[in-house]
């Protein structure tokens, strides 16, 4: 009877050492790989924050352009009037600082210095802070409906039989563009509430009626990515601060607690958390000057027809130059005279 050979203890130890060594080697390689990937992720995060900050610059520029011309409902100059047009940060009608609805009459303007008399909206020294978040449903949201009034046929969706009175008729029955929330006309009380709900966007409602405006409902994945902030330091000049991070545009903790927006410390829970957010954030400062010039129009065809013997002068409409494919459309909100990245944070922003 033969004995079953057994592995000697020393041999078992050798195998263990070899296996442990290889495992350690693999673990080291894996760890190094993971660390490299993590470092890559960190660097990509920095790039994403820079990108968010640059997007904030776009958004801030868009805000300055639009806010000079629209959006000042219930203007202090003319309360209870909504959706009125304003005429720029330096009002093109009277040279006083805007945005404002009414031009000052000569009698009113006589006692005021246009270079210092404060604008009723967003005056010099005012700060606007704008966290960039996406609403669940923004105000006046429109549906991505390409053809709200498509002609109905057998192959349309839904298909329509020829007997249908709408068959083949190019009726403009539906609003174009189509609201996300089909509201109808605000005639009845139910429609009125629905219409108001659409106007306001998705909000946390304080009451059951959608006419109550509460805090907007934000898509969670869009929070804490970026913000911009605007400080008006002159009649037409602004300091834009853009950030890639989650501080929501607060300068520091002191401003969170004692800033013009009241105590907002509950947004962050505490100073330590805010400071950690601030330290990991990308911030950049720009200075810009707004101009009322709208751009885009090239009135080269307003000209004379001197080839005619009678020197007829013919006024063409302002249009792009003939034969130019790359027409530039004007921006009714104005343009910018310059953008300047500030190398260091300014004193006021």
């Amino acid at each position: 009877m033969s004995r079953i050979p057994t592995v000697q203890p020393i041999r078992r130890g050798t195998v263990l050492i070899v296996v442990a060594g290889i495992s350690a080697l693999l673990a080291t390689i894996a760890l190094a790989f993971l660390l490299r990937m993590r470092a890559d992720g960190e660097e990509v995060r920095l790039l994403i924050m820079q990108t968010q900050a640059r997007l904030g610059l776009f958004a801030a520029a868009g805000y300055i352009l639009e806010a000079g011309r629209i959006g000042w409902d219930n203007n202090a100059d003319k309360p209870n009037q909504v959706h009125h047009e304003t005429y720029g940060w330096i009002d093109v009608r009277d040279g006083f600082m805007g945005p404002k609805i009414e031009a000052y009459s000569s009698a009113v303007a006589a006692g005021r210095d246009p270079t210092t008399y404060a604008s009723p909206n967003f005056p010099v020294g005012h700060i606007g802070r704008f966290p960039l978040e996406v609403w669940q449903r923004p105000p006046c949201a429109l549906a991505m409906e390409q053809a709200p009034n498509a002609i109905k046929t057998e192959i349309s969706n839904p298909s329509t039989p020829r007997s249908d009175p709408l068959y083949g008729k190019p009726y403009l029955i539906n609003p174009d563009p189509t609201p996300v929330q089909s509201a109808g006309l605000p005639t009845g009380s139910a429609n009125a509430a629905k219409f108001a709900d659409w106007i306001l966007g998705d909000r946390v409602l304080a009451t059951a009626t959608p006419t109550s405006s509460g805090a907007p409902i934000i898509r969670p994945e869009s929070q804490g990515l970026g913000w911009f902030r605007i400080y008006r330091d002159g009649p037409a000049t602004f300091v834009i601060t853009v950030g890639g991070g989650a501080t929501r545009g607060f300068k520091d903790w002191n401003e969170v607690v004692n800033g013009p927006w009241g105590d907002q410390s509950d947004l962050f829970g505490g100073r330590v958390f805010f400071d950690s957010l601030q330290s990991g954030e990308v911030r950049q400062w720009f200075r810009v000057e707004w101009s009322a010039a709208i751009g885009g129009i090239q009135p080269t065809r307003l000209g004379s027809q001197q080839t005619h013997g009678n020197y007829e002068y013919k006024s063409y409409k302002f249009q792009i130059q003939d034969g130019q494919r790359y027409a530039s459309r004007g921006n009714a909100c104005g343009t910018f005279n310059y953008f300047q990245r500030l190398r260091y944070p300014p004193v006021l922003w």
């Binding site: 390689i29 040279g95 002159g234 130059q321």
Partner: protein, 468 residues
Amino acid sequence: MQRAFSLIELLIAMALGMIIIYTAVAGFRLASSSISVANRLSVENRIIRAGITDALDKVDFWTDVDAPAGDAADSAFNGQALRVWTDNHPLFRIGGDASGGIGDWWQYSFHTGTTNDEFEPSRTKGAPFAAFSASTAVSALWPRMGSSDPKHQRGWSATYAWPAHDSRTWWYGDYGSVERESWYTTNSSAPKTPPNKNYNWQEMGRYGVFANRKENPRLGHDTKTIYGNSDSGPFGVVQASHSWRDSQLWYLRYSLGPYGLYDYLPANAISSIRGGFDFQHPNTITEVDERNVIQFSSYTADHHPSMAKTLAGMAIALYPFSPYSFVDWGDGVGGLWYNYNSSVDTKNRIIGQQFAATSVTGINSFLIYRKSSLAKPIIPLKPDTWPNCDVRVYRRLKTGHHINSCEITWTSPLTGEKDSISFMGFGSTLRGARQQRALTPSAGSGGWAAWYKLNDPSNDLTLDDYKP
């Protein structure tokens, strides 16, 4: 009892062991090479990220075309080639030749007498980064002169926003009378009688009296145009109603070049001004104060008065200047500034920063830029074995927009191939970049101007400011 392995057992055990070892080594090598590949890909990604960050930095601070504190690596221009039209540059008006070497190109670019070249022999010309107050021996590049009447003031004001309600910012003219104006030449065979459309008959009046770059223009003395003949008669020296706007355009053009002109002007500013000079006789300053002066050479402007900031269909590029501009690229005729397109006219426009590329001319502004620009590596001093990464930013004005095309080129540490990506950047304009730079840099500032807040007396003066 078996006390040892048999030979066969040993051979089998050794074979199995070798197979196991070989497999382990192969696996290890594979894992190792995978790690290497991953690392190199990671390095490549880092290079791209660094390039993007560097490109955005260049878009914001324009350090690729102007080094605020100078650049010793650029022995020819000290990194400030676009300031060379000032007194302080060592190459200022140094004599030379036109064979591709660094010569008197300041003089050459503006003193050619070439047909349709813009010309004004009595003044120093600027460049995109020349300080307005940079002086020749006698006067500032763009003199600031006060006047009790704002309609006749001179010099740039960095805090004036050209507000639309201010009547001095308006253009006063007659589109009809200037649209088809062209210069009369002594050799012209065109009939000088109506209804030739190529002459400005001024049927609607003499608008030179309403707005002019000169406060006191002399009207009716231009004998080279039909309207200066005896039928019209001289009006003599008159007081122009407005001269601020026209002089602003005039000095912007000559202080900064066309890119700077359109960077600084508000959108849609009509670039027509009155009060000029005679293109055909550059050596003689003639009084042609009723002429409409287009801010470009004739074929790009087509004599339209409205080459506004929109610039539909036309691009104005900002060309950097570097030692590479003088490198012979192997086409046998010298440096770019001398030979490109075999056109002296083109060369002059590039040097003078006054070139407007159009589809009409067929000149590729990108090629000009590429051959003239200094592609700066993001790590200038590095071992040869390290992967390379170059960043360029092409700046041009096109269809009413500032366009900054960023191009990042790198050598892949994985394959050794060159690759590139490009994207559009959005950041500081030329005016913003000039306002970043100190007129008189303080020690340790790196050439940057400190800015604390609006109207703060501690703010440094910039290239746009004047010394008090």
